[in-house]
Structure formats: C-alpha cells, structure tokens
C-alpha cells in the first residue's frame, strides 16, 4: 500500500486519492487572444517527464481537497506534497534534500 501525505490529513492509503494531471498550468487570462496552436498547447501539451514531475492530486475519499505533489515518475516515489496555491518548488532541490536526509540516517 502506497501512502500519500495529504497536506491536510497526513499520511493516507493511496486508494483514498485520485490523480488530477500536471500542476501549475494556469488558464490564459484571455483565451480568445490565443491562436489555435497556443490553445492546443494549453489544453493538451504536457511535460510528461521521465523523472521528477509536479502534479495535482485530490484526496477525494478524505478531505476532498486538491493539492500538489512532487513525484518521480520512474520510482513512483512522492518527495513532497503541498497545498494548492503555493509556488512550484525546485523539484531537484526537493528530491536532493530528501535523499540527503535519508543518507544521514
């Protein structure tokens, strides 16, 4: 059972959560000012990295809130979760920090 740390409820089983796509994608303030290619980029183009990814999750069967997570798409490991609205963290620094603390133990 993978545990995911909800920023509001703490560590919970993964079955309580639902994935909600890449995080920090802001809707354009004036969509009609965009050309078709730009609109397609906003709607469909995603980073889809192999490695660290910042994504939205929802604690749907818990507090029901959306939040963001830094997850490694290779190992499925979640390095950090934080409330929606907080700025996008430096993902490499976040992962390095967690791994450094682990190696100290």
């Amino acid at each position: 059972m993978l545990l995911i740390a909800c920023p509001y409820c703490g560590e919970r089983p993964e079955t309580e959560f639902r994935y909600a796509g890449e995080a920090h994608i802001a809707r354009p303030h004036d969509p009609s000012a965009l050309n078709d290619d730009e609109w397609v980029d906003f709607l469909y183009q995603r980073a889809n990295p192999k490695g660290l990814h910042v994504e939205r999750w929802r604690h749907i069967h818990g507090c029901a809130r959306f939040f963001n997570a830094v997850r490694d798409t290779v190992s499925d490991r979640i390095f950090k979760t934080y409330e929606a609205g907080e700025p996008r963290p430096d993902v490499n620094a976040v992962a390095a920090d967690v791994l450094a603390k682990e190696s100290e133990r």
Partner: protein, 203 residues
C-alpha cells in the same frame, strides 16, 4: 453431551449444580465472541453538510451551539449534537432526528448575508455503530487506515474507503465506532461487516 452425562454422572450425582460446573454450553463460545464485535444500525438523525469561510464558521458555531473543530479529522460534541471536520472548510453537523426543518431554518437565518453552503443530507446518509474489542479489526477487514488508538484516537473522524464504498469513520470510544455512509451503500457495507462478524465467530 448425552454421552458425557451417561458415562460420568451417575443418577445420584446428577444435580443442577454439578451439571453447571461440569459442562461448557454449546453456544458459550459464540456468546463470548458476540461481545467482541457488535454491529447495529444507527438511529435516524438530522444531518447537514456545511461549507464556508472563517466568518461563516464562527457564525455557524454560535448558531449550532458547538464551535466547529478546526483541527483536521476531529469531531466536537455537545447536547446531543456533533460537528465533524470533513475538510478545511467542510463539516458534517448532526443532531437528533426530527428537527431538520426547524434547525435548518434557524441556521440559515443566523447565517443570512454570510457566504456559505448548507445542505440537508438527513435522508441521504445512514449510520452503522460498531462496538467491542474487535470493532477496529472489523473495520480493517476492508479499510487500510491505521486504527490503533495512538494514530486514530477517540474523537477522530475521517472520510475513507471501506471496500469500494466511501464511508465516514468516527471513533466515539476506545472500542466504539460510528460509521456514516450513503444509504444505497448501506447493504454493501453491512454485508462486509457480516463477513467480519463471521471471521470473529460472532454470527
């Protein structure tokens, strides 16, 4: 049992007292197990879902008579009412059955002009009560939450998943749990709990 009586007890030794000391009742082990897990349907109740910001929370606390808990996953109780934290701006408010209309009107008038959402879900939900030393184990047959007293203390409540159904689990005592779920999920959850009862020999 008849064989035991025939071989071990002669006619003169046969008395009620001897019999009671000598034998174990055929159903004794079930009787003991039954107290380890008792599952009962909860009474009908008045239930509201309330959502709102800080101003609405304070106004609702005053009007409802219980300050809404702000710590995550905690319930506050008083005067046969309860306020259960469901999310950072969402609570379940419960009270005795039959007061939904009057209480709803009173709360709405107390919160007039303050942005909020109040929904009567009295009939959407049902409750199931679990008691006994095996209550937590019974829940864990279909729910992976850590229900140890240290990590899920008395007064803690949360929505979670039981089997495939969403439920709200509220610990009201060391070995007492209050479950809330949508009424159409009731038979499914009751069935899973019946399996748990069979597991603990309590049918």
């Amino acid at each position: 049992m008849t064989e035991f009586l025939g071989t071990e007890l002669s006619g003169t030794e046969f008395s009620g007292a001897n019999l009671a000391n000598a034998r174990t009742g055929a159903l004794d082990r079930f009787a003991g197990a039954a107290s380890a897990l008792v599952v009962t349907p909860g009474d009908p109740a008045t239930r509201f879902i309330f959502r709102g910001g800080k101003a609405a929370q304070a106004a609702m606390g005053d009007a409802f008579g219980i300050a809404l808990p702000v710590q995550s996953c905690r319930a506050a109780t008083g005067q046969s009412r309860a306020a259960l934290w469901l999310g950072p701006d969402e609570w379940l408010l419960t009270g005795e059955d039959g007061q939904a209309e009057t209480l709803f009107a009173a709360l709405e008038s107390a919160l007039a002009g303050v942005p909020h959402s109040l929904v009567d879900i009295s009939h959407r939900n049902i409750s199931i009560l679990l008691s006994g030393p095996k209550a937590a184990a019974a829940l864990n047959t279909a729910c992976p939450l850590d229900l140890a007293l240290e990590s899920f203390p008395v007064g803690m409540c949360t929505r979670t998943v039981f089997g495939k159904a969403e439920v709200l689990i509220w610990r009201t005592g060391d070995t007492l749990f209050h479950l809330e779920t949508w009424r159409s999920f009731g038979p499914y959850i009751w069935g899973l709990l019946s399996l748990a009862q069979r597991e603990y020999g309590a049918l």
